[in-house]
């Protein structure tokens, strides 16, 4: 088992997409992990074998960095708190869209209005892939394309689930890498 002695983290089984995400999203994290990890580190493997296409395919954009930059000693978990709030809100908004698709057939204005709210939330935390799918859905609404809306909505839900997994793993990693006595994790 490939284990880093300074942190006790099992880097051998760390998921690749999370590794790439950490490299591409947070410049400061590069320094942190370089310091903590052994030579056979995530970073070495990422740089040697993988491109940084993860940036182009990134689940999160620069706005997420803006949110993280709002953290300080007084609010060390601000980003995680915001993300928790986002997933609570977005689950509700997705449910609203789902119910609207069922109960109000071809009510594109209603569908669009709900999706606009979700898109706004995605923008606020930098959830770029999810935001793109929200925009696709709205385009289909504008076209009056029911099938397109349904397909796009499924993609929105998939991106939502994928983003949730990645962020949960990300914050888990941060808690492992952080100082002893890190704050308790809010329910996500």
């Amino acid at each position: 088992m490939d284990r880093d002695n300074s942190t006790g983290m099992n880097i051998g089984t760390m998921p690749w997409d999370i590794c790439e995400y950490l490299v591409t999203i947070r410049g400061r994290r590069l320094v942190l992990f370089n310091h903590l990890m052994s030579a056979n580190s995530i970073f070495d493997r990422v740089y040697s074998g993988n491109s940084l296409d993860a940036m182009k395919q990134g689940y999160l954009d620069e706005q997420f960095c803006q949110v993280e930059d709002l953290q300080d000693e007084a609010s060390p978990n601000f980003a995680e708190e915001v993300v928790t709030l986002f997933f609570k809100d977005s689950a509700r908004l997705i449910s609203n869209v789902e119910q609207a698709l069922e109960k109000y057939p071809k009510d594109f204005n209603r569908w669009d209005a709900y999706m606009q709210q979700l898109k706004g939330s995605c923008s606020s935390i930098g959830a770029s892939r999810m935001k793109s799918e929200c925009m696709s859905f709205r385009d289909y609404c504008a076209q009056g394309n029911v099938e397109g809306c349904m397909r796009s909505f499924q993609k929105v839900k998939r991106e939502h689930g994928a983003l949730r997994q990645k962020l949960e793993a990300y914050f888990q990693l941060l808690r492992q890498a952080g100082p002893a006595g890190a704050a308790t994790r809010p329910g996500m």
């Binding site: 803006q66 300080d72 709030l85 809100d89 606009q116 706004g120 939330s121 606020s124």
Partner: protein
């Protein structure tokens, strides 16, 4: 109507129904040493002005339940609150016209950048200091 706030922390009002957006804006304002209040719709914002509360800057979202941002802006201005800086904020670029016609000073697309907010507050602070 609103008295100038000279030399003390800028007083900000955030009018936003989406919690994530509200929390982020409030945090930014806190980091910029503002005394910030948040309400979730335009009517509550107007009610604060009716109660005699004053603010140096008001940031409003466009689409909110009960009363929209532009509608609230129009009512606030109609009450004589001409000095308060009003900022329309929306992910919908089409909202700019609605806000400006209602009497907002500026429109900022969402998500609001920290540096943008900081620059707006610097204008507010310098205006307050000059009036002294």
């Amino acid at each position: 109507m609103a008295s100038r706030n000279q030399g003390s922390a800028p007083r900000a009002l955030v009018v936003e129904d989406i919690k994530v957006d509200c929390v982020i804006l409030m945090r930014m304002l806190h980091k910029l040493n503002c005394k910030a209040t948040a309400v979730e719709n335009g009517k509550k914002a107007v009610d604060l002005f009716v109660e005699g509360k004053s603010f140096d800057i008001v940031l409003l979202d466009k689409d909110m339940p009960i009363m929209s941002g532009p509608e609230a802006v129009a009512k606030i201005r109609a009450m004589g609150a001409t000095e308060v800086k009003i900022v329309g904020v929306s992910a919908d670029f089409g909202a700019q016209e609605a806000f400006m016609q209602a009497g907002a000073d500026v429109f900022v697309p969402k998500p609001v950048k920290f540096e943008t907010l900081k620059a707006m507050l610097e204008v507010v602070i310098s205006k307050n200091n000059m009036s002294g």
